[in-house]
Amino acid sequence: MIRLNNINKSYVMGSNSLHVLKGIDLHIEQGDFVSIMGSSGSGKSTLLNILGMLDNYDSGTYHLSGNLIQNMSEKKAAQYRNDLVGFIFQSFNLISFKNAMENVALPLYYKGVPRKKRNQIALEYLEKLGLKDWATHMPNEMSGGQKQRVAIARALISQPKIILADEPTGALDSATSYEVMDILKKVNDDGITVIIVTHEHDIAAMTNQIIRLKDGLIHEIIRNGELKQFKKEYTHGLEAAQIPSYV
């Protein structure tokens, strides 16, 4: 499904060059539920952007569904994004002057679906997420959890193969975060690959596979079976972190 081979990426800032990704090798199967973790600056957002074809990489190869993604024109990239990928963002990124239904229907507009049909499909997706009554509401009339559910509906409507979520729960309280994670889990059960970037260990623990990045390299990959171990380590880490505050 997703195959990354020695991906390198650096940002040039004036005379300095910042090497963000230093050779990522990654293989994600169809239907995986993956979280990417790491401290800030470890390159996890950059990795997600490359996965979502929002950014180019410098060297290496990236295959998505058997297609080599490399130096493609903006138009081609836009088409791939529209067909294969659904995005969910920390700050929801809904268009403020369109109502929930129109926001959800937007990807279909770029697929050339007629207005009536795309609005009907959008309503179906909103209903699945329990937001049918909110279809005509503007984003600023909704709570954070509702906005994120609208965003998920928007990501799903084009029936993508991958959902990329950049800190989907970062702006939500923990109860709503778990709700959103439940939805993503259901989405994953339908066979769609879900990749989320997160800071929060409890959110990451709900996924099947955790990729930890450190300084632009994959530090460790924790698979489903080892998650219990991970949880223990995480608790231990927390305790360890708390010690200095008593000293």
Binding site: N49, G52, L54, D55, E74, K75, A78, Q79, R81, N82, D83, F87, F89, Q90, S91, N93, L94, I95, S96, L106, P107, Y110, K111, R154, S158
Partner: protein, 390 residues
């Protein structure tokens, strides 16, 4: 803005064109003079006299349309019952009607039969009719012209002129009754020419044939006088073309200023909507669809604003037109009471539907130009930059 400029420019040229229309634009007048250059052994200062056969000669020159000889009788006394007055009598041939664009209010003009049969008929100007006949019917009545009774067959007016104090009678009749010779004072004719060069060529040919006939140097400017209306007309029209071009330049200048303004606004709009455009691109909007979005918006802005301007401008023009029409009517009324009226050089300052359509198209093009740079910028927005949390 462009509308007002174009409208007033149109008004100016319409007005002048209407003044020219008083006579046929391709009219030419030839009058006699004195030779100023010795020719074939004859001294200068010899007067030239036109005769009836000169008109026939000129008529044969290629490029001459219709022609008429004219014999002025100066002040002639016209009387009917107790009313009488002195007016200018122009004796002519039927073609003069076309040369001078005379309008017949009633009856007919001199025709060929009048000339052949030397009928004693007269076409009087509208003012003469008013003075002699008041409100009674003039057609078919007999007026005494220098004590000779003539039948009134028509009442005419010169377009654009408020003084119709001329009377027209058949050349042959007048020559027989009043002068007893075949002399002509001048020749009026129309020429079939559309360009300055053509008309000047015809002019030269006329000088040549008349020079041969009367034995004067064709280059002798004094021997015969010649007024070429087309030459004058073309020159004036050139001036108006220049004015029109000038007006267009100013108009386009204002338009460019407008384009820059709208372009700036659109740049700000794009900046404000960076995030939205980023979202759209992340969702799968291609660069071309983003350009389309911004261009459409820009075209909408310019077209709506432009249309309001168009309506306002046209409204203003119509208003000016309305008041000027009233002014013209008042002036005509004053002229009818014996007052004098200056010819207006400003007529019908409106723009026609074609210009309105063109300017609408122009607005759309302007909108597209105004929106192009902002749209390009919008298309080059990188979604990752746009979506970065502030």
């Amino acid at each position: 803005m462009l509308m007002i400029l174009l409208g007033s420019g149109n008004g100016l040229s319409n007005g002048v064109a209407a003044n020219f229309m008083n006579d046929a634009v391709n009219a030419m007048w030839i009058w006699r003079g004195e030779t100023t250059i010795p020719y074939e052994g004859m001294k200068s200062g010899r007067p030239i006299q036109f005769h009836n056969d000169d008109q026939e000669i000129v008529q044969k020159v290629p490029g001459v349309g219709v022609s008429s000889g004219r014999y002025f009788m100066g002040n002639t006394r016209y009387s009917y019952l107790k009313e009488s007055g002195e007016y200018t009598t122009i004796t002519c041939q039927p073609a003069l009607k076309d040369v001078e664009n005379l309008i017949l209010n009633e009856g007919r003009f001199i025709n060929d039969l009048d000339i052949i049969q030397k009928r004693k008929v007269v076409v009087i100007g509208a003012d003469i009719k008013t003075a002699l006949f008041k409100d009674s019917v003039a057609l078919g009545e007999y007026v005494n012209v220098n004590m000779v009774p003539f039948k009134v067959v028509g009442i005419c007016a010169e377009p654009g002129s408020t003084q119709n104090r001329n009377a027209y009678m058949p050349l042959s009749t007048a020559q027989m009754i009043f002068s007893g010779s075949n002399k002509l004072h001048n020749l009026a004719l129309t020429i079939n020419a559309t360009t300055l060069e053509e008309s000047q060529a015809i002019e030269e040919q006329i000088r040549n044939v008349l020079g041969k006939q009367h034995k004067f140097d064709p280059k002798d400017e004094g021997a015969i006088g010649l007024y070429n209306k087309l030459e004058n007309y073309i020159q004036t029209m050139k001036i108006f073309q220049a004015i029109k071009i000038f007006i267009w330049i100013i108009g386009i200048g204002t338009l460019i200023a407008g384009i820059v303004g709208v372009s700036n606004i659109m740049l700000i709009v794009v900046k404000e909507r960076t995030k939205e455009i980023g979202i759209r691109k992340a969702i799968g909007a291609s660069p071309s669809s983003v350009i389309g979005l911004i261009l459409l918006e820009s075209i909408m802005i310019t077209t709506i604003a432009g249309y309001i301007g168009l309506v306002l401008g046209t409204g203003l023009m119509e208003m000016i037109n309305y008041f000027m029409m009233q002014g013209a009517e008042a002036a005509a009324a004053a002229a009818a009471n014996g007052g004098e009226r200056g010819e207006s050089i400003f007529l019908n300052p409106t723009v026609d539907i074609n210009i309105a359509i063109y300017s609408t198209l122009l607005l759309i093009v302007a909108g597209a130009i105004a929106g192009y740079i902002p749209a390009k910028r919008a298309a080059s927005i990188k979604p990752i930059v746009a979506l970065r949390d502030e």
